[in-house]
Amino acid sequence: MPRLARGILWLAVAALGAVAFGILALVRGETVSAAWLVIAAVCTYAVAFRFYSRFIATRVFQLDPRRATPAERLSNGRDFVPTNKWVLFGHHFAAIAGAGPLVGPVLAAQFGFLPGTLWLVIGVVLGGAVQDFTILCCSVRRDGRSLGQMAREEINPVAGMTTMVAVLSIMIILLAVLALIVVNALKASPWGFFTIACTVPIALLMGWWMRVWRPGRVGEASGAGAVLLILALVGGGWVANHPIGAAFTYTGPALTWMIVGYGFIASVLPVWMLLAPRDYLSTFLKIATIVVLAVAILILLPPLRMPALTPFATLGEGPVFAGKIFPFAFITIACGAISGFHALVASGTTPKMLAHEPDARLIGYGGMLMESFVGVMAMIAACTLEPGVYFAMNTTPAALAGAADVLKTAGFVVTPVQMQALAAQMGETTLIARTGGAPSLAVGMAHIFAGVTGVLGGKAATALWYHFAIMFEALFILTTIDAGTRVGRFMLQEILGRVWPRFGETSWYPSIVLSSALVVAGWGYFLYQGVIDPLGGINSLWPLFGIANQLLALVALCVATTIMIKMGKQRYAWITVAPLAWLTAITMTAGWQKVFSADPKLGFLAHAASLAASADPRAPRLIFNDHLNTVMALGFMAVVALLIVVSLREWWLILSRRKAATLTETPFVESAYAR
């Protein structure tokens, strides 16, 4: 295409995106089509990928197709394998996309659709995609080293240890909050519980199939698993309407014990038996559902019923979670805008499979743009609900009563009869106070899917779609719980192995059992406190998770900035320093407010003080939990401060030439593919 035509095309894309943003920003009370959200996001992604990611690739890292990657130099046919860039894009995306980009935007919808969408779109192009891309580039130039290794070698050992603590902490909070989402979705839901319970024997069968019966035949086993999964989904509907359904109906605390037991067993069992088959099943389901959801939204372009901004954006008294837009919109939506966890994937399997250096741009930057788009779709699904329904589902009765006046003034009302009718339509007994985001996302998805099947002339089957959406979310959350508990166990074994070497042997069974029990006890405790929390658990645990996740992003951005300075590219350091400064501001502000705010709904200490004279028998435990959460939040803030100080010191030493800028980059080797 001629240069002039290309220029006009990109100007047109930019103008279209600007128009879409303008319409979203100026709408006041009118219903707006989801099409404008999609157009604004896609145009921004296109411009950012074309120009900004190219700028980083060429000016900063100077990605070179002639330079052999670790996949080529260290090729062993197992973990180091040169891989087609589109295949690796799919592989990388499957590893980074989980429940986070789906649930975070649903929770942030309490501010209206605009703040969360702006953060998803702007945050990803300037922060999240930059983090993933730069860490991937850094790791590829270092034989696929992990984030922790790079922090230790490029900054200093304190940063390395900080990374390890950050990863373990985030793992504990992450697993607790994800398990809480599953518990809230499955309590008093025989259909949902039956379907999810069936995934365990299905996974065991698949494991036996692909390891013992027909080794390596993952496709066959996954196909059989998918068929059984559909049968379980349909069977769940029958169970729910049968007297036997009582045997599959559980309370939150009962589900908590089950999920804790499941996490322990899954961590102790061999990988092939439960984790690997479940992972394959959830990956297939995840990719297929996301693609179908995107197509369905593009076909239907449903109207957004949630306003651009709700009163809670400025009041800070939201019933879903307390706090104002700044900083809590940016803490609530981590995955989808910027997620430190991705740095572990970008410095894990992906750099070992990259065939050509320039492919890092599509996979690192482009993969994260795709995850952001998933977040935008989740925002659309949540905002297609009537606001009254959204708040009734995502709020505990106590919090709903506290926000009743604001909700009434804003017109966000729903009657008990309407909620009952909706629950019956979804095949549930109740949908009130289904906090955690997953059920409201499932209702939104069910409406969208049922809308498409209705358009195509099929039966709407909304209840089936609702439980399909719940199964889709719960399946990959449980996969993350399997994998996360195991990774946490390995980390604990490594840490304790320094004191007692025998404990560090990952195949020594007493060590496996003990370390698994400790990790499960860690997240299990936070899960339990979330389940019994009168405010619903999400109010305290999700912000802690957001802070922990952004803390890991801080580590990644500090590592990337240090490497760029050592490369002599300090004039481009703003690329990573800008998101780093923003994350520091939101992490510290959110941490401070969660601990010291005088509002009992927001501040842990104020909440504990408000319970001091309470006659509630649960008060002592709730006070203890508030103090524990305070310690966690202060710990995260201390780690952020420490990390910033050691990084600043390192940068100052290098820039003032008091210390040599020693890079640990692998020397250039010409790629055989370039010859």
């Binding site: 046919g77 590893a95 690997a276």
Partner: protein, 67 residues
């Protein structure tokens, strides 16, 4: 598929290519790729398919899945 990662992406008419493509995307064990690597490296395979699959699954448990 060529070993440089630039090979065919697999089409509907190429069942083998498509199967391999899907296996790679979901991170399934690919014994063919291992055999191809051994052939290029000029040494016989050190692992049988069963051993390769077992080792692959063991290492998969150390991978991270994001939230």
């Amino acid at each position: 598929m060529r070993g440089d990662g630039r090979g065919r992406k697999g089409t509907a008419g190429d069942g083998r290519g498509l199967g391999r493509l899907l296996r790679q995307i979901i991170g399934a064990p690919d014994y063919e790729a291992y055999l191809e690597h051994c052939r290029k490296a000029g040494h016989p395979p050190r692992l049988t398919e069963r051993e390769f699959v077992e080792e692959f699954f063991a290492s998969k448990g150390k991978g991270v899945r994001c939230c």
